[in-house]
């Protein structure tokens, strides 16, 4: 039994000592679970909040989301196991405590590995999301260019329509009095519809949702700016993930030191039990006086 514990502890010490270097190679270890977005560029017409939701819903349907969820569950059960073991550690003594400490170190190593894999998957998710936003931004820029082309037309057209509208009523009266004929069917329907459109336009102007939009310091934010802000959020999440990797690195270092201490304790247990002291043998120098005193 003792030999087995010693063998395991040695293997564990080596594993824990190399855990710092293995963390760097986690991307290669992460399986090839991915997220291939199926949403179209049409989501660009959605308001920012709903656009984000649409992207997240698309992600939820991906194998990457399933993998992340499954790892999350494993991590949670691992954390419960480690917490329980750590709180019960004082209840054990002797060999049992050594076994418990061994399980704790081994569990911590598994936790770090799982967290590393999860961070890689989270990174993958954010990178795909960033690529989606980048694509949407390019599409938005193209649309903005096309819109600027049509804006010139709209401006001229609007000026013509407004100018014509100013004489619409007087023109109807003039036509009726001058020709003494009833207005055409088209003119009647046109006036009716024009009146309806005016009322509807007024209602649109007064609608509260017509004035709802993202703004910074009271200034309305363009579509491109909204997308850039979302991209900044994703980039900050990626930066946080990098910091989490550093945290994991430090955790791995601590596990490595724990494993080293555990190995020392194991040695003490095997070779230093019951206050065993190695025998010391007499030296001729200790008995020198026997030979010097001649009396």
């Amino acid at each position: 039994m003792m030999k087995k514990v010693i063998k395991i502890s040695m293997a564990l010490s080596i594993l824990a000592a190399t855990s710092l270097t293995s963390l760097a190679s986690l991307p290669a270890m992460a399986n090839e679970t991915g997220w291939t977005p199926t949403i179209s560029e049409k989501i660009l017409i959605l308001p920012p909040k709903h656009l984000e939701t649409a992207i997240e819903q698309d992600f939820d349907r991906s194998p990457l989301a399933s993998e992340l969820g499954s790892i999350e569950q494993t991590i949670n059960s691992q954390v419960s196991f480690l917490s329980q073991l750590q709180s019960d550690l004082d209840l054990y003594e002797g060999e049992q405590q050594l076994e418990a400490r061994h399980q704790l170190i081994s569990g911590k190593r598994d936790y770090i590995q799982l967290m590393g894999e999860q961070i890689q998957l989270k990174k993958k998710r954010l990178e795909v999301k960033l690529a989606i936003y980048d694509k949407l931004l390019r599409k938005s820029k193209r649309s903005a260019y096309e819109n600027s082309q049509s804006a010139q037309f709209d401006e001229v057209h609007s000026a013509v329509a407004n100018r014509a509208a100013t004489v619409d009523s007087s023109l109807r009266d003039d036509l009726f009095t001058s020709t003494m004929m009833p207005e055409t069917k088209f003119a009647g329907a046109y006036a009716e519809n024009q009146s309806a459109i005016s009322q509807l336009v007024e209602a649109i102007e007064n609608h509260p949702s017509n004035h709802v939009g993202q703004s910074i310091d009271g200034e309305p934010v363009s579509r491109e700016e909204e997308l850039r802000l979302s991209m900044q959020d994703i980039q900050s999440e990626l930066a946080i993930l990098s910091m989490e990797e550093d945290v994991l690195g430090h955790m791995a270092k601590l596990v490595s030191l724990d494993a080293q201490a555990f190995a020392d304790d194991l040695n003490d247990f095997q070779y230093g039990m019951d206050g065993f002291e190695p025998k010391t043998y007499d030296s001729p120098a200790n008995n020198l006086q026997l030979f010097i005193n001649q009396s």
Binding site: Q152, F153, V156, H157, V160, R163, A164, L171, D174
Partner: protein, 126 residues
Amino acid sequence: MKRLLALSATLFSIAATMPAMANSLDNLERERAIAIAKMLDGDISVSQRSEYMMSSWRRLTDLEKIVINDKSLKSSAPAAALRAFNSYELTFLSHAAAENNQLITQHWAETVGLSTSDLLVSRVGR
């Protein structure tokens, strides 16, 4: 070969039965051209001209409104539409004349630079 001929014949018959679609701007231009031709027609009497211009006025007013509200011009003929819009005084004769409280004839003549004094001093030439 027979199949090809049959297909060509079918396509030809479909094309032949499809109406030639003129946009609203084309219709307005046509009506305007006819109205100006009548204005300048020396072979009709004053009352005939006046009678024609009254009915043309109604048609032009309707056609101008149709053009102003035609959203398809932006995609079908943007350049022609822009040119027409920028020449408001000559394109929308009825509306522009109403702005100046003038008849179409008077408004058109003034816009193209034909005043009564100009016409009085003019000579018939070959």
